[in-house]
Symmetry: none
Subunit: 144 residues, 4 copies
């Protein structure tokens, strides 16, 4: 098998995640930087809400990239391993809470990274984004 097919997150899908994450952060009253990357770590969609910390544009991006690469949520690694990976990847690997893989039908199609709140707030926003995509997809599935 020389090639294989993979599900790829479209911009339309990424915007569902982004807009739902923005809505959740607004509801919480916590301005956030929200980043969606594809399964290869390339940027798909981004928004910095009014009042969000500007340095979070960088850290939220690396959370999204890291989640897509790990295929797991970010921030759970032992500190020394996380810093070693950060150093060895030129700062691309972020061992910080707020990154989650976007998984559709068992396949990782991208990552979301959220930053500017505390870790707990970041995670809630990331989950809300992913849940919206899952919900939107469930509605488009054919009936059995």
């Amino acid at each position: 098998m020389y090639i294989y097919h993979v599900p790829e997150l479209s911009l339309k899908g990424a915007m569902v995640v982004l807009n739902a994450a923005i809505a959740k952060a607004e509801e919480m009253g916590v301005p956030q930087c929200i980043v969606i990357v594809d399964r290869s770590g390339n940027l798909l969609a981004f928004a910095r809400m009014d009042g969000a910390r500007f340095l979070s544009q960088y850290s939220a991006t690396q959370k999204a990239v890291t989640a897509a690469s790990l295929k797991e949520s970010t921030g759970d690694m032992p500190y020394s391993l996380g810093m070693g990976l950060a150093a060895a990847t030129g700062g691309r690997f972020a061992n910080l809470e707020g990154g989650m893989p976007i998984i559709i039908n068992g396949a990782v199609v991208g990552g979301i990274g959220v930053g500017s709140g505390n870790g707990e707030e970041d995670i809630i926003v990331a989950k809300a984004g992913i849940a919206a995509l899952e919900s939107a997809m469930a509605q488009t599935l054919p009936l059995p």
Copy 2:
């Protein structure tokens, strides 16, 4: 005068620009990377359309940053000066077509950068984004 007041582009405003630019690029059948930065060069909103060249995420960003800094459209500089500025700014300055300042009531509030098409296509998309914001703002002005 120790402080002065300036207009700042909100995420809502940036999304008007972004969505109109996406719509124009869809209409043209040319997938694009579209970036909106604030007046200080920090990222506000981003979208990479399906099929757009992934390296354009970087060049479109620097077009937007450059337009916000220059307060002029990008790509008009003599080649040698443009390359000299690119080198001296760590690659932040982009002397490439497709960046335009976002100007509201005479004040630069940000920049848009578009990349993945040819220069002419990039400019059309950038202009469509800005025109949408101008139009939206005109509708919110108080009646005389």
Copy 3:
């Protein structure tokens, strides 16, 4: 609301902060690097006093940038989170004492970063700079 208005620190205001910080550091006999950035993290004013450690030009800058982004004083974060953010922001985030936001009428208009002394000395100098701006502005307020 597509745009909103924010207070921006002028160079004149930044120089009030800078000069008062220099004066305090001279009085203490501790040469310092002193950096003022605007609310978006762009450099406004800088001075390296005779005898200050030259690497502090970099750390003091990132303290100022971090304070403007956080909207809080720097150096209070748990070590592992601070290092994670430093790595994920390309070294822009500095979890080191000596950075403070410049807040005028409740709005963050910039940041000051001081480095080359010990953390306590850096903080005293940063506070002196900010106090001078507050005092200068109080004198320009209209009488009640």
Copy 4:
């Protein structure tokens, strides 16, 4: 001779250059980024005037560094050599007009870099800064 003595520009001297350069740029109505470095290329003093292009904080710095290293004004090199040096120095070498060495009694004690205007404007401002230091020093020399 294992060590030798060199004249070093003090912060006080750098501020004479900086303030005179600001005054000239104000007189011209051209907001500028103005950078003073010492003979070793380390930052001594910096100011970004209200309205100056924010990317010039980087290019003006490299003009000052380049002038201090070259011991000559910047921007006179053939283009290909200038770009080769920019590449080989990680962007530290800037072959752009607006950098001048600060020379006192025949010795280079630092560099000034000016950016945000056009090349001609940048040079006028740099010269005004240096002239002010020369004038200040002439007044402190003992009479013959």
